[in-house]
């Protein structure tokens, strides 16, 4: 057990959450991060799905990494990911139909999410299954938490609710408070994410210099 949770593996798991964050630092998987964050619920579902898929795909690829011919590895990786995404999309349709309608094509687009290909290429192809699993979960969570933060900010200020529950009281509206409709627009997601990245880089400025 001590070997499984060695310092190295811990680093593999924790780095993507902070200094090596897939969205803020590696700039991967931006497309879906912006498109599904108008509300909190789809953002959570999306983050969770991506985490599961990255972890599973990492494990599968790292198990078969020695048998994959180098020339066609991209296609093999894509097919493994596509199969996993098909399963997740079916599960979502069965158990969370409303959210899967909201996510529409973005569930299918997890296939081309650069986080997946990036992790498979950079990590799973050269590491064993256990570190790959940790790396997958770490990167998935690093992606998910940014989605959740952006989703929460946009839903709170855009429609005054969180997960559909009213947070800003009616009294505030009577006093003249108005929802910021801009927040629900796509453009605002970009600007929020830009500010978020800048904040994260400011907080990590000492670590980055090393």
């Amino acid at each position: 057990m001590s070997k499984l949770l060695s310092k190295e593996n811990k680093g593999v798991f924790l780095a993507p959450l902070n200094i090596d964050n897939p969205i803020a630092v590696q700039v991967l998987g931006i497309c879906s991060a912006l498109a599904v964050t108008a509300q909190l619920e789809p953002a959570i579902v999306m983050g969770f799905s991506v985490t599961v898929i990255v972890a599973m795909a990492n494990v599968i690829i790292s198990l078969i990494r020695k048998t994959i011919p180098n020339r066609i590895r991209i296609i093999i990786q894509l097919v493994v990911v596509a199969a996993l995404v098909t399963i997740v999309s079916m599960v979502l349709k069965a158990f969370a139909y409303d959210v899967s309608v909201q996510l529409s094509v973005y569930v299918g687009l997890i296939i081309t999410n650069c986080i997946l290909m990036g992790r498979l290429e950079a990590f799973a192809m050269s590491n064993g299954p256990w570190p790959s699993l940790l790396d997958g979960i770490g990167n998935g969570l690093g992606y998910a938490y940014i989605l959740v933060i952006v989703g929460a900010v946009r839903e709170l200020f855009g429609s005054g609710t969180l997960l559909g529950i009213r947070i800003i009281p009616n009294v505030a509206y009577e006093c003249g408070y108005e929802n910021n409709g801009m927040m629900t627009m796509p453009a605002m997601a970009l600007i929020l994410l830009g500010c978020f990245i800048a904040t994260l880089r400011y907080l990590n400025r000492d670590k980055e210099r090393k």
Partner: protein
């Protein structure tokens, strides 16, 4: 004809890949440092879209849902991505064989396009639009519509990436606050561009 024109203009300006649905963001942000390379990537994207969307349209209508009593549409993800990856590989080989100069210019971008969300996204949107009502200006009802849609969305993507690259070239002379340098300010610029593109949203032909 009227429908095709409306579909074309709409897919460039209103349903712009980048500004309305954030597709192809990764390479959009990574390659938009100068106008010349981003123009090359834009052309490559148009080209691959023009080939893959009509092929996937035929697969979707003739194979996946075309056989009586068999609905194979759950296979669409795997089939679409296999077609895209295969076509990209093929295009790469053909370009390498017949036009080495173009190959040298596009070189690194061609294989990258296989995992560009804009390509996959166009196929998935096309799949969605087949089921829309024929009156809708987003409806895709024939192979011609599919080609027009591919051309329009590819052109919209090209427009967006060249625009951003031009702004970023100018921005190298600007004194941006340190944490915002690079990625942060680029996001904000794209956000402002998206806002500008929002004024097209009522456009009708």
């Amino acid at each position: 004809m009227e429908h095709a024109l409306s579909l074309f203009v709409r897919s460039i300006f209103v349903d712009n890949m980048i500004f309305a649905s954030f597709l192809g963001m990764c390479s959009y942000l990574a390659v938009s440092k100068n106008v010349k390379t981003s123009f090359g990537l834009g052309i490559a994207v148009i080209f691959v879209l023009l080939v893959t969307v009509p092929i996937n349209y035929l697969l979707q209508t003739k194979v996946l849902t075309g056989i009586e009593g068999v609905d194979l549409s759950y296979l669409s993800f795997i089939l679409f991505i296999a077609v895209i990856a295969g076509i990209v590989q093929l295009v790469e080989m053909i370009v390498e064989r017949f036009s080495p100069s173009l190959y040298a210019a596009l070189g690194i971008f061609l294989p990258l396009i296989a995992v560009n969300c804009a390509i996959m996204g166009a196929s998935l949107f096309m799949q969605q639009r087949i089921e829309m009502s024929p009156e809708s200006s987003q409806f895709i009802g024939s192979i011609g519509d599919a080609i027009v849609y591919a051309l329009g969305s590819g052109f919209g993507w090209l427009l967006a990436i060249v625009g951003l690259a031009a702004i970023r070239e100018k921005m190298t002379y600007t004194n941006v606050p340190k944490p915002f340098q690079g990625l942060g300010i680029t996001f904000i610029v794209v956000g402002l561009m998206a806002m500008a593109f929002m004024c097209f949203s009522g456009l009708k032909i």
